[in-house]
Symmetry: none
Subunit: 197 residues, 4 copies
DNA sequence: AATGAATGAGGGTTCATTCAT
DNA sequence: GATGAATGAACCCTCATTCAT
């Protein structure tokens, strides 16, 4: 019989990689990176213990791939927001999307945050990715708020960014005990008072 | 040698326990709980590898003891602040102390935050301690700000608390790259505009 | 396409087998058998990871085939020498060829020698091949030297054979640090003093 | 109860280290280094799987320790021989000891020889030890034979040394099929003809 | 109260081998 | 005949924990 075509192999590979990354993301996010064993990942992905190593050279590389996917997703979202013309709408959209994602995927936020907290002992490559991402977050609200006419100073933007991060962390930790909807409403009421929500 | 009295034994025990907890706190805080081995703790404490198990039934129990001490410390600080009469000064003092401690002991904040993020799989006892602490944080600023005449609504207090937590996390992650002084100044300028700093 | 004839298939098979054995020989010789993976062999041979198993039932069988080829090569060389009439020339030719091959293919000698040293746990078939070869070496110089009038006794031949093996091992280990040319010259000077070199 | 004294611990440690090294030597020698697992070593030594790592940082370090012991033993033997005044007796003693050890411990010779053959991929430290040992062997017979009035030239010494190595290798491989006694007798007859054996 | 040698489960990783196509 | 994805046993090593002294 003829061997499979390159395209077929490509598809198989992609599927397996996706399965593994998905399992890894879920487990890393829920239990933390250190507390997740490669065997667990393989099991959850429904593959043999050795397969992940066909696709990822090490546990660290798997984490990297997972994080990279996450970052791409994040960039995609931001990208979509930046396509919006109206500055106020743009900012609103970002805030809204953030809340939405926070609720939908708080585990993923947890993973990134937990990694950020132990950046010192992360493999350099991961450290770079995560660090750069975190730095970017800091600078995102300043221009946006100015554009939207919502803040006169960088300081206000800084504080706003801190608040958003704080909300995220508090929600990650407290989950259903956290008044996410209330604080979201409060934010919109405070910064977009004219509009109806 | 005369047999030691019960009190003497007690003192020896307490000293050993203290040494071990101190070493554990430092290592857990700096390297993370998972990345710290009991052997490292013992070595840093200057005791034999087996001794920690004379006082703490397991690594988890040691963590618990360490966290409990940390919480006590925190309560003590809050307690000091609450001794202040003037509501505005009380709030200012808490904020200032928070910043001070953040700079002095960001590692400890990191430990607690990292633990909070993986609460699901923490031993129940630790989970309770940490969770309760985090919950308390949420509720602390509301009354204080109202007392101090700084916020009309609970929502504002909620946002303020989130911001403080956000600042903490951002600082833990970025350390010297974070404009801590600037944001601190901005906070005081915003919430305590009359006064000189 | 016309269906290929049996002969064509045969040729294709032989080419693949040859490619794989060649790659295996080179890698086994350079890195050792244990340190060479089947994946490496396949890659070096330019075939898929599974193909070697179409031709060789296991890594051991592949080794066997490689060794067998090596032995055949050796026998061929010996055969050529034995075609020489003059006994002295015959012996000289063998010695010279040995040195030549030692320099050219010390890696292959290394492979065989290394295998010989762990014969106990070699698959029986390999053990037989290697063992028999080694035994033959022992007996080869006796008749030759007698024929050539160079040694009166079997003992001298035995010592001569040991020396040749010793030179080989020492050269394999020390490579360029070993005075191969010098010892070769010394041998000829000692056993073929009349002639010029 | 009082803890054991430092001397007691020292003794326990030494005993365990010795047990482990002994087991390792035997297994490495018999099966080869690569083919021996740490679990096997532990089992043969009668200790738990993890204990060897209390004493040797890695499998390589264990090998190093084993080799070092072997080298020390070798040096001790040579040292004893060098205490002999009469040059001829000295040489005879070395040769005799070599044969004796070869018979008694051919496995150990095998280990060192096998390692020598794969020096390229040995950890540098081991490579150095083994390489230096092998080099020393080359130079030992020259002075000795001259002293003993047995060889006029360096070349003869070189050939003699090669022969001794060759005998060793042949014996390691063929074991009981090898005429060790006969070749030993032949050597003495050739180089020490005056004496009776 | 204190010591540190010893245990063994479990984690990351490799690789010979199989098999559907 | 050929491909390479998939399997899983086995390997090296770490570390929480136990225990005799």
């Amino acid at each position: 019989m003829a061997p499979r075509s390159e395209a077929q192999f490509e598809e198989i590979r992609n599927k397996s990689k996706a399965k593994i990354k998905e399992a890894a993301l879920e487990l890393f996010a829920r239990q933390g990176f250190d507390s997740t064993s490669m065997a667990q990942v393989a099991k959850k992905a429904g593959v043999a213990k050795g397969l992940p190593y066909n696709y990822f050279a090490s546990k660290d590389e798997l984490l990297m791939a997972v994080i990279e996917d996450l970052m791409k997703e994040g960039e995609h979202l931001i990208g979509q927001a930046f396509a919006i013309e109206d500055p106020k709408e743009k900012l609103k959209h970002i805030i809204e999307t953030t809340f939405e994602w926070l609720q939908l995927h708080s585990d993923r936020f947890k993973l990134v945050t937990a990694l950020s907290l132990q950046m010192d002992q992360l493999p350099p490559k991961i450290r770079d990715i995560v660090g750069q991402k975190f730095g970017a977050n800091l600078e995102i609200f300043g221009p946006l708020m100015k554009e939207a006419g919502l803040s006169a100073t960088d300081d206000e933007a800084l504080m706003f960014g801190a608040m958003m991060d704080g909300i995220a962390v508090q929600y990650m930790v407290m989950k259903d005990d956290y008044p996410l909807e209330r604080i979201k409403a409060a934010i919109f009421r405070t910064w977009f008072p004219d509009e109806t929500h």
